[in-house]
Each structure stands twice: as C-alpha cells, then as structure tokens.
C-alpha cells in the first residue's frame, strides 16, 4: 500500500542514460552523493560532541575507581562491572525495571490508543478533552510526585479516605510504606502522567490514515471491530514502533518519579537502575561504579531496541 521511491545516487544506469557532457553534471552528481551528509551534518556534529563524547568519557570513568571529585583516579579494569552481579540492590533494581516495563508498556499504551480512537471522532468538546488528558504530562515531576504522595497518604490521602467513605475501608493500605505495593503505587502516578504521550502520538498517527479506507470498508459491510484490526492497526504500525520502543526505553531510564515519591524505599524496595546509579554517583561518590551501572542500562536498551527497530523497519518496506 505504501510505496517509497528511493533516489539512488550510485545507480550506474543513470550515468549511462545521460553520458557526462560537461563538468557541471559531474559536480551535480558529486553534490547528489554527498547530499545526505549535508543534511546530516549539523545533527551529527552536535550529537557527537554533546552526547557521544560525554558517554565515552563516562565509559572511561567506569573502568576506574574515581569518586567524582578527586584529582587522581586509579584504573580497576572490569571490577565495577563484576560488582554489579554481587550487589543485591542492583539485582533488585533490574527486577524492578522489568516489572515497570511490562506494566508501563501495557497500560498507558492501551489506554492512550483507546483515548486517541475516541478523540479522533467528532463530538462536542473533543479538543478540550484532548488537552485534559495530556495536561499531566506538562507538569514538572516535582508537582506530580508531590500530588500523588499526598493522594497515597495513608492517613489523610484521597485514596484511603475515599475507600473508607464508600465502605471499602478494609482495602485502605499504606500504599507507599509497604515494600510490596510501593512500586505499583508509583506506577499509578506514572500512568496518570504518562498516558497523554502515547495518546498524542496515536492521534498524529490516526491523522495519517486516509478516510477513504474506512469508506471502502464500510461499503463492503465490514464491522467496526474488523475495520479496527484490518485498517487502523496496520496503518498505525510506524506509530506502534515508536510508542513501544520509547516505552521500553523510558521504562529502563525511569528515575525522577521514583526518586521523588519513595526515594528508592521503603528500604531499597523501589530502587531501579537509574536511581541506584544516581545514589552511587552523586550520594555515595562512587562515580566509577555509577558509570558502570549507566552503561548497563545503555547496553540493555541497545540490545533490546536496536534489533527490534531493524526488523520492524525492514518489514514495513524500510
């Protein structure tokens, strides 16, 4: 259905069809060949200097025992990396990241899609509703964490108070104080703040589906559910890739919300890799170990997301 025509500046056929008559043509072909790089240059330079270079610097640091401040640092090889396997908190953090990923992939994505489908129809007030559901994404995390910490307050919080009011008081719980429920409580805040994002992306994706597709299907007598699976979902493939990939990446990098709501506690129950890295680097002054943890996050993500992108890109005619 989708055709992507490609320019092939290296196509020998083109040269044969138009034999070079003047140098102008040669220059033009040279320009053609380097055109992609002209387009890419600003991004490559800035990205290389301000992301890749610091990242490589941190790789160097991960092979040392630097504390982040002193003049000297000693080379320790892979000691920081092997330490990860002996560190019970790091293992727990990894497990928490996995739980977080599964939940945050399933729930906000599904909810975001449902909302986008609903909001893509025309009815009164839909623009206003779009803003409402995206609004939490605009708040600084200080605000989100503070609001939800109050919501979950075991004594005066809205959740327990409401449960008590409607007679379900037995379900009232110390959500953030119980190591078993703390992470899930933070996830609720994360879903609240996060579902606006896939919603907006799906809305943009839905805009790209030509209306005549649905016209044709309706004429053929296809029910709405069939239309959804056979028209909507395939057309949203690129959007799916984006939403899911970004979801996985954000889940492994999650930090601010957990740090602000539970500080990694109770105990170390809600530590995730990014927060544990932060503690190690900025509070315990183990910049070397912290950098190793950072690279663990980066490696996991690269291993998981890059093959996925490559495969699905190729499948969609990429």
């Amino acid at each position: 259905m989708i055709t992507n025509t490609r320019i092939d500046p290296n196509d020998p056929g083109a040269a044969a069809a138009h034999p070079p008559v003047a140098t102008k043509k040669k220059w033009r072909r040279l320009l053609r060949r380097f055109t992609p790089y002209f387009f890419l240059a600003p991004a490559l330079l800035i990205y290389g200097g301000f992301v890749i270079y610091p990242m490589l610097d941190s790789l160097m640091i991960s092979f040392t025992n630097w504390d982040g401040m002193a003049e000297e640092r000693a080379f320790v090889g892979l000691a920081n990396y092997s330490r990860i396997f002996d560190d019970p908190v790091a293992i727990l953090a990894l497990k928490n990241n996995l739980i977080w990923t599964v939940v945050m992939l399933a729930v906000p994505t599904a909810l975001g899609l449902l909302l986008a489908l609903g909001l893509n129809r025309s009815f009164k007030g839909k623009n206003l509703f779009r803003s409402f559901f995206y609004a939490p994404a605009i708040l600084p995390l200080v605000g989100v964490a503070g609001i939800w910490a109050w919501m979950f307050d075991p004594n005066v919080g809205l959740i327990n108070t409401t449960l008590n009011l409607i007679g379900l008081g037995s379900f009232a719980h110390q959500w953030l104080g119980d190591p078993n429920t703390a992470l899930y409580a933070v996830m609720v805040a994360g879903i609240w703040q996060g579902l606006g994002f896939p919603m907006v992306l799906y809305l943009a994706g839905l805009q790209g589906i030509p209306a005549d597709q649905y016209e044709a299907a309706r004429i053929d007598g296809a029910k709405p559910l069939k239309q959804f699976w056979h028209i909507t979902m395939p057309w949203l493939r690129e959007t799916h890739i984006i939403v899911i990939t970004l979801g996985v990446i954000a889940s492994f990098k999650v930090f601010d919300l957990i740090y602000s709501m539970t500080y990694g506690g109770p105990g170390q129950a809600t530590q995730v890799l990014a927060s544990w890295m932060y503690f190690q680097t900025f509070q315990f002054f183990h910049a070397g170990y912290g950098s190793a943890l950072t690279w663990l996050i980066a490696l996991i993500l690269m291993v998981v997301t890059i093959p996925y992108i490559r495969i699905t890109s190729r499948r969609s005619g990429g």
Partner: protein
Amino acid sequence: MKKTLLRITALAATLLAAGLAQAETKLDVLTWFSADQAKTFQAAITEYEAAHPGVKIKLNTVAGTGAATFPNVLRTRIAGGQAPDIFTMWGGSLAGPFVDSKAALDLAPYYKKYSWDAILLPSAVNAVKRNGTTWGAPIDLRAVSFFYRKDNFKKAGVAVPASFAELEAACEKLKAQQITCVSAAGTFGWHVMRLFDFFLEHTAGPEMHDQLLTGKTSWDRPEVVQAFALLKKWTANGWLPSGYMGISPDQAQQLFLQGKAAMILEGDWFVTNSNAAGLTPEQYGFFVPPTDKTPARLEGFAEQFMIAKQSKNPDAAAEFVNWWLQPATQNKYYSVNGSSATKDAAPDAAKNPQGATYVKMIAANPTYMIMDQAFPPEMMSTTYYRLQSAVAAGQTTPEAAAKEMQAGVAGIGK
C-alpha cells in the same frame, strides 16, 4: 635632596595604595539557603563589602530539600575546577567525601589566628571535626527534641513525661483518645532514625552510645537489640502513625500541626514551622527526650562553612568567615540560619520567645551525634535504613538486625 626623596616616596606610596585599592578580591560563596535566607545573607554581604572596600562577594544558592541536590552542584563545580571559595556543608560524615577527596582546606591555622575556639560552642566544633582535624567552621548547632501539643496532652490527661516509662504510658493514654503518640516519617529514613537514636541513648547510655557511633564497640549487643525491639514494639502498639514507613517528613509534620499527633521529634527550625502554621505557645511546647540517663543529652548536629582548596583567596575567605562568626554579626543576622554555633548568640526573645527558649535548652544540654553524620551515606542507605525498614515491617528480628548492623559498621571503608 631629602625633600625630593620624600616626595618620590610619597608619590610611590600613593600609587601603590591606589593600585591595591583597585585590585579587587573576588570571593564566590555557594550555599543552600532558601530565597528568604539568601536575601538576609545578601544584606550581610553588602554590609561586609562596605566595610571592606576591594572585596566583592558573589552569592550563589542551591535551595532545595535534602542532601542530594546541593552536593551535586558543589561536586560538579569542584571537579570542573570552579570550586566556590566558601561553601556551606553539613558536619560529620556528610562532609566526608569532600574532605577525603582533598577538596577542603584545613582551617587549623585560621582557628589559631582568629581564636575561634574562644567564640564557638565546643560541641559545635566537635560536630564538624573529622579525624580530629577542623576542616570547617561551624555556623550553627541544631538539636532535636520532642515537640508536643499541649491541647492533646490535656485531652488525654497527660503531663510532660519525666521518664521513659512515663513516655510510654502517655502513648497508651493518647492512643485511647485516637491520637497518634509520636509522628514519624519513613521516606528518606532519617526522620525515624531520630526516634531510634533516642531509643539507643536510652538503652545504651551516653558513653556506650558514643562508642557505638565511632565503631569502637560492637553493635551486636543486647542494648542495640533492645533499641530495635523498642522500634518494633512502638510500631506494633500503634504509637506511630499507621503506614509511617511510607510517608515523608512533610506529611509527618502535617499530622502534628493538624493536631492528629501529639508529639514529633524535630529541631529548632520547627519553631518557625509551628509559628507559621498559626500555633501559639499555649498550643505547643518542647521538652528534652527522657532517656533516664545522666546527663540527659539531645541529639544534635552542626553545619559549617568550608573553604575550598582550589580557592585563590583563602585568607580573604577566612576573613569573611571570621566576621560572620562574631557574636555581633550572628545576633544581627540570626534569621539567616535560625541557629548559631557562636556562644552568646540568640534570637530576639521579645519577637520569638519560643525560639529563644529553644536556644537556651540547647545551650543547657550536651548533645550526641546524629547517626547519619556518624556513618557514611552509603552504609546508612544499604545497612541502617534497610534494617530500620525491615524491623518495622517485621521482616527481620531485632537480634538479626543488630548483627547485620555490626557487619555494616565493620565493613565501612572496605
């Protein structure tokens, strides 16, 4: 001939003096002051600059809660070669990383030059020493005590407890009135830690407590087990807020200020909070925690000014610090910190009676070091706070906790 020589000398002297006056000494100060505090401190700086022409001081602040944001900025500046000349720092082990990485200057020569030992409270100076060396000058001394709601006490028919047993009895009476006995908060760990420190002072006594805090005696002992057992007992008895391990210090303070709890372990700063919430001296007070031991000690900690090793003007920096520490300056600008390490400095008793009373209480009682300044943050996080949490949740026994605590203390620096 003599006259010409004199004239030339005079001219040279004038030029020299003019040259010196134009050579500016720039000082950079990094603090954690809030907006209000910074405003007042800036006024002090302006006064100092007026009295010391040629000195320009730039004030930078990193306001915000906790021991996380401020060290981050400070650390980055030090590592980047742009250390501030003077910076605020907590005492004890929290200053450890900065001392150990040789970022701070040994201030012993300045202590001698300005006779700081004479004007500063000894317990404050001790609180900022590390391995016997004074790496900073204390700018305040804070102590924690039991704040209590007089109205709640009256309602439950309870008087200010004079012994530990009376305190526990009071908790039972308050509980019968559906009032939380002591409000505490588990997030971050350090708020509940104050309670544990109090239990430990009670079970172990001053000498042993100090030895425990310096690692000179093992934590695997009955007194420590009893302290953990008290934590477990208070949780089980409902004398602490339900779900307290998951609430933050702000929320715990709320419970007290709203009258839902009867007591809370807070320090001198809490006088300001209580006044701001509209509480009157008829409604709240404070008392020394009853440890049943002599001397009755308060849990305390100090904060300090440190001078960076990278500083290009250490003498000028020390000169400013000295001026700041003088009783006259401290009294005039007391509201910057709300507390002082200088002898004879106190808030205005007419404007702030509760504050003045609190300072008298601090001066009248010796202090013991707060645990999170005795041990490095990493050990606190991976050992103590974890155990505190586990004991409260019933996931580990007091006996096991004491053993693991000892393992943690013994493992420091390894």
